[in-house]
Chain length 207, copies 2
């Protein structure tokens, strides 16, 4: 089976999951932390070299405070969990904003946990316009995420068939695999199915 | 039904269609011209304001000459057909290359055919790196396709679930609808199904 080197993860559907459980919209994010850790373990086992997780975006922070605090705290807790594993973490996002959690600032340069190994990129208070330096039609001069490699496979939970601003440059040639289940309902079979599907796709890189 | 304002078209599968018919790989492109015109008529009827067609890319021109000439000629013929309709054509691509057909140069500024109306953008010898001005990690200073608006819905024929470098900035929030049939097998029902699906999606633009 052909294993992707770099997988992008869009863990969507937390709010719809919470509503379906009779919770407030903010009630889903805390249930998205352990799925992320499970996924990391499975991917490490499979030999995947790099993963990028979509944490939250600048646009997301315009939501009600109770939701914003919930997804922001979930990101902080996810990093706490990861810090007990072997990984090389890089957090990418707009740090010049009160929305960026202070405790995550040390990780905006690549940071080794344990024995290192798998690269984990985590988009926190990210924005594609920020990434491209886009402002009134002018772009550049450098991609903020130039340390992030090309993504082979993007997996999105929650049924939407779109990238929603996820790393537009690294995703130009990515295959997009969509899972209808909401992210807090993550099952290992999701990732096995995604990789089996990916291994049957051709790789042309635009050629 | 909610109608998208701007649709992106990735007419893939021409070579696989040709092989399935026992033709050489170059034999499909000529059968992709009339489908494009049919699609234009249907979308105009539906009130869609803008369409962008993926013609060919700089990467595609590295293919064998017989294929390159076939897809290049198909693009020229498609413009000849469109010139008898009402449309506002803008061709976007790298003109400073022998691969860009000379006869298409007049259309690299927006050009009105007949009574004008629907905007048609046509990517010819396009490259996402060219679009972003990307060179050795430096980007900018301006997006080459800044006259092209945000795309609501990208429809891809030929079964691949990827954007393949198609307007990365305008596609950040696009919904992606994939049709397994090859492009030369276009049927009007494809576009009706795509728009019906699109009309059931939510529009968050990252929010």
């Amino acid at each position: 089976m052909r294993i992707p080197k770099h997988i992008g993860i869009i863990p969507d559907g937390n709010r719809r999951w919470a509503l379906a459980k009779g919770l407030g919209k903010e009630g889903g994010y805390n249930n998205g932390i352990l799925p992320g850790l499970d996924l990391y373990h499975i991917c490490r086992e499979l030999g995947i070299e790099e993963m990028t997780f979509y944490g939250f975006t600048v646009d997301n922070t315009k939501r009600p405070t109770i939701q914003r605090e919930a997804f922001s705290q979930a990101c902080v807790k996810a990093v706490e969990k990861l810090s007990k594993e072997d990984a090389e973490l890089l957090i990418l996002g707009k740090t010049s904003s009160a929305m960026f959690p202070d405790v995550l600032k040390p990780y905006t340069s690549r940071y080794r946990f344990g024995a290192g190994g798998m690269k984990i990129n985590f988009l926190v208070n990210y924005s594609w316009e920020w990434d491209l330096g886009l402002h009134e039609g002018v772009i550049g001069p450098t991609l903020k995420t130039s340390d992030v490699s090309r993504i082979d496979l993007v997996i999105r939970w929650g049924g939407r068939r779109r990238l929603s601003g996820f790393l537009p440059v690294q995703s130009v040639y990515s295959d997009l695999y969509v899972i209808d289940d909401y992210w807090p309902d993550f099952k290992p079979q999701h990732i096995y199915d995604a990789i089996e599907w990916y291994s049957k796709q051709d790789v042309t890189l635009g050629g």
